[in-house]
């Protein structure tokens, strides 16, 4: 199953809110909404993996770090994000990162594929 990580993004949240509204007005069932979100997970994971090609650098000071259930959560302060084209500065940023090695079922299947 693809990571549900990206549900808490602008794109993901707006989808969830829209689904919630439809549930409220009883136009769809919660089960259907869940299916949509699962589909969203797949779509966004695959889009990021395939359609995005750019690099970012950043530097700051680490305020807190946490590693739990294979998920890293960092809070950094006074961070500068740098890309070729621009520089972004923030006072505080939270980074949530899932393990990149077991990201998609497709990858793991191909890795584990072996013929007896």
């Amino acid at each position: 199953m693809a990571y549900q990580l990206y549900r808490n993004t602008t794109l993901g949240n707006s989808l969830q809110e829209s689904l919630d509204e439809l549930i409220q007005s009883q136009q769809i069932t919660p089960q259907l909404a869940l299916q949509v979100l699962l589909q969203f997970d797949k779509a966004i994971n695959s889009a990021l993996a395939q359609r995005v090609r750019n690099r970012v650098n950043f530097r700051g000071s680490l305020n807190t770090y946490r590693f739990c259930d294979n998920v890293w959560t960092f809070v950094l302060n006074d961070v500068e994000f740098r890309e070729v084209t621009e520089l972004i500065k923030v006072d505080k940023v939270k980074i949530v990162a899932c393990d990149g090695k077991t990201s998609s079922p497709v990858d793991s299947i191909s890795r584990n594929h072996s013929s007896p």
């Binding site: 990206y6 794109l11 829209s18 509204e21 259907l32 995005v52 750019n54 950043f58 084209t85």
Partner: protein
């Protein structure tokens, strides 16, 4: 990096197409699917984390907004005047304010906030939620953009400005009794020129959703701590209007809600009013401060806050200011490395929301010292 409307667009298209079958299997009409898509896109536009997402639609919205932009000075309605005012949908606007609102729609567009000490007004970015759209349909023609207000008690109200200058305040999707709010810095007896957002009395029997209340801000008089609404012209878009007007006259009396949280009288702990004899006798206390405070508390009969241990906590303010965008990066890690207190991050496939805007990367490398 910063902005890829195409990527978001393509994700939306993919998702919608992929779930079409699921919708049909569940017996849900295609129209609902289209509605989902529309809602989704509107919210994205509303959040304005995205520039030029739908440039055409933005142009249209800009035009509509310019005609009906809410003003800070209520005395005129100069429709042409508003074009000089900064537009919220202009791409340079880097600041979005996000406020979490329970139950109803969430918008990152600036909202009118009425905290205890300040009256902050922001112009609305334009879009109305579906609920607001439905509500405005029930109101007389000519009603347009919605100004959302978050009261200091956390209630979300929407102020809809009609073409004739009347303002309708309603609370979407909730049938909660509305409370009257007082804006303390207003001078008593003065007529408040800036738009006053809130003057709603609790109504017996509650209010049905989307009941409109017309407020003519010029007519709002502040007498001390009480607010009176003197409606001049009372149009009656909803049947509850008469009810509200009648109740409005009872406002000063029928107001159980206090402007601030009621002060709770504490009679134990440091505000102990009993055993005063003991307190007087023990003059050799080490913690003289405590004793003084006890006596003060006993004398005043009022304790505002627990004076003891109130400064022991040294944690950082996690919440910071309520309306800051929390800058979040959601991604996957390739490698996280640490050497003493030097950390190195190798990340990939991330979506960032920084200063209200969305950014995406396929790889990110970072350094930080702990």
């Amino acid at each position: 990096m910063r902005w890829m409307p195409k990527l978001y667009r393509s994700v939306i298209e993919d998702v919608i197409n992929d779930v079409r079958d699921i919708f049909l299997d569940d017996g849900v009409d295609e129209q609902v699917l289209m509605e989902l898509k529309t809602l989704w896109e509107n919210k994205l536009m509303q959040s304005r984390a995205v520039d030029g997402f739908h440039s055409e639609e933005q142009q249209l919205l800009l035009q509509v907004q310019q005609q009906h932009q809410p003003q800070q000075q209520q005395h005129h309605h100069h429709h042409h005047h508003q074009q000089t005012q900064p537009q919220q949908t202009v791409p340079q606007q880097a600041q979005t304010q996000q406020v979490l609102i329970p139950a109803s729609q969430q918008a990152a567009a600036p909202q009118v906030i009425v905290p205890d000490s300040k009256l902050i007004q922001h112009m609305n970015a334009s879009n109305m939620s579906a609920a607001a759209t439905a509500a405005t349909l029930a109101l007389p023609a000519g009603v347009t953009p919605v100004q959302q207000i978050l009261t200091n008690s956390g209630q979300l109200l929407q102020v809809v400005r009609a073409a004739n200058g009347a303002q309708y305040i309603f609370q979407p999707q909730q049938s909660v009794v509305l409370q009257q709010q007082v804006i303390p810095q207003m001078q008593p007896g003065g007529v408040q020129a800036p738009v006053i957002q809130q003057v709603l009395a609790p109504l017996p029997g509650g209010i049905s959703p989307q009941t409109g209340v017309i407020i003519q801000p010029q007519q709002i008089l502040f007498t001390g701590n009480k607010t009176q609404v003197i409606p001049t012209t009372v149009a009656a878009p909803t049947p509850a209007q008469a009810q509200i007007t009648a109740a409005g006259q009872q406002q000063p009396q029928a107001q159980p809600a206090q402007p601030q949280a009621p002060l709770v009288l504490q009679v134990d702990g440091t505000g102990d009013t009993s055993s005063e004899e003991d307190e007087d006798e023990e003059e050799d206390y080490d913690d003289d401060e405590e004793e003084d405070k006890e006596k003060d508390g006993a004398e005043d009969g009022q304790v505002e806050e627990e004076p003891l241990n109130s400064e022991d906590d040294v944690s950082d303010e996690e919440g910071q200011e309520l309306f800051d965008t929390e800058n979040v990066v959601v991604c996957q890690y390739d490698k996280i490395h640490r050497s003493k207190n030097k950390w190195k991050f190798h990340l990939k496939d991330g979506i960032m929301n920084l200063n209200g805007r969305d950014y995406i990367f396929s790889k990110a490398i970072g350094d930080a010292e702990w």
